[in-house]
C-alpha cells in the first residue's frame, strides 16, 4: 500500500528492518562487492591481534545502506528519501543482528507535498546504538500531486 502524508503523525514508528546475524560470509560478500579490502572486516587475526578490536567489524558502508533501505521501504513507492545523515558511534561485530529503526519527529506541508523528518538508528542485539542519525522524506498528500522525479531537492 502506498503511504500518503495524511497517514502519518509525529511519534509514529517505522517498520523495523533487521539484518543478521551478520556472519563473516555476509561481511566478506559485501566487502568484495564494493572492493573494500580493509582487513578489519575479514581477517580475524589482524582485526583482534594487530588492531586490538574485539572481533571482525560490520562495515559502516553496509549500515549506511541499511538505513537508506529502512527509509525507502517505508516511503516508497509514492514517497522519496530526500536527505539522510548518520554517524557511527560504536562498533557492530560479526555475529551481531542489526535492527534499523526510525521514528517520526516532525511533519509539515510544503508546496503541495508532505515533508517528514525522522530520527533513525541501528541497534544490535545487545541493545547498543552504534549508529544514529536523521532522515527527511517527502510524501504526496492524499489526492495531491505526485512527488516529482527527478527530485529537485528540498529548499533549505
Amino acid at each position: 500500500m502506498s503511504l500518503a502524508f495524511e497517514d502519518i503523525s509525529p511519534g509514529d514508528e517505522l517498520p523495523e528492518l533487521v539484518r543478521g546475524p551478520m556472519t563473516t560470509t555476509h561481511i566478506m560478500r559485501w566487502s568484495a562487492a564494493i572492493e573494500n579490502w580493509h582487513r578489519i572486516h575479514y581477517d580475524q587475526a589482524f582485526a583482534t591481534g594487530h588492531d586490538g578490536l574485539p572481533g571482525l567489524l560490520v562495515n559502516g558502508s553496509f549500515k549506511q545502506h541499511l538505513l537508506v533501505g529502512l527509509m525507502r521501504g517505508w516511503l516508497e513507492p509514492a514517497g522519496w528519501l530526500a536527505r539522510i545523515q548518520m554517524s557511527f558511534r560504536g562498533m557492530d561485530l560479526v555475529g551481531d543482528t542489526l535492527t534499523a529503526w526510525g521514528r517520526v519527529l516532525e511533519t509539515s506541508e510544503s508546496d503541495g507535498l508532505g515533508v517528514v523528518v525522522c530520527e533513525i538508528g541501528i541497534r544490535n542485539q545487545r541493545g547498543e546504538e552504534g549508529t544514529s542519525g536523521g532522515a527527511t522524506g517527502v510524501l504526496p498528500l492524499r489526492d495531491g500531486r505526485p512527488v516529482p522525479y527527478p527530485f529537485p531537492g528540498l529548499s533549505r
Binding site: 562487492a33 564494493i34 558502508s61 536527505r83 548518520m86
Partner: protein
Amino acid sequence: MPFVTEAISALVDVPGPRFTALGPLGPDELRRFVQAVMEPDPVHWDDAAGSASRYGTIVAPPLYVLHATRRAPGTPDPLDRLEAEPDWDALDVGAGFGGLPPIDVPLRRVLNGGTEAEFFRLPPLGCIISAQSSYVEIVDREGRQGPMVFAKIETIYTDEDGERLARVVNTVIMR
C-alpha cells in the same frame, strides 16, 4: 593553537579531479551489489518492476554511487604493498579524500565523523557515473582529548549528461 592556516583554508571550495566509472552501469555489477546489501526491491533487477516504477527502468539503490568508481585494469595493484608491509591494514585510501590535496596538520588519527546525503535521481542501467569532491569546510575544534580539525568533503555524483544523482558530505575528524 589553531592548525587551520590560511593555506589550508584556501583549499575550501576548490574542486578536486572528476572521477568517472570505468563504464556504463551493468546488470551483473548491479546484481552483485544488491545481493550483497540484501536489497529486496525488484526495481533493482526486474525489467517489469523497473518499467512500472517512477524510474521507467531498472535502477541502482541511492548510495550505489559511493562505490561506482573502481580501479582500472592494468593499473598497479595496491595489494602489492602487503609484500613489503605485511601488517598494512589494506584500507586502500587510493585517491584519498576524493583526490583532494591532503590537509597538512600534525594530527595522526583520522576518524569518520558521519555522512549526509541528498538524493535527486537513481542511476539507471547504462548510466555512467562521475564524482567530484571539494572541501566545503575545514575548521579547528577543541575536543576533550585535545585539538581537532573537522573537514567536510562534499561529493557531487552526476550522470553522463551532468545531471545530479546525489550529493554526499562526509565529515572527517583529525585528532
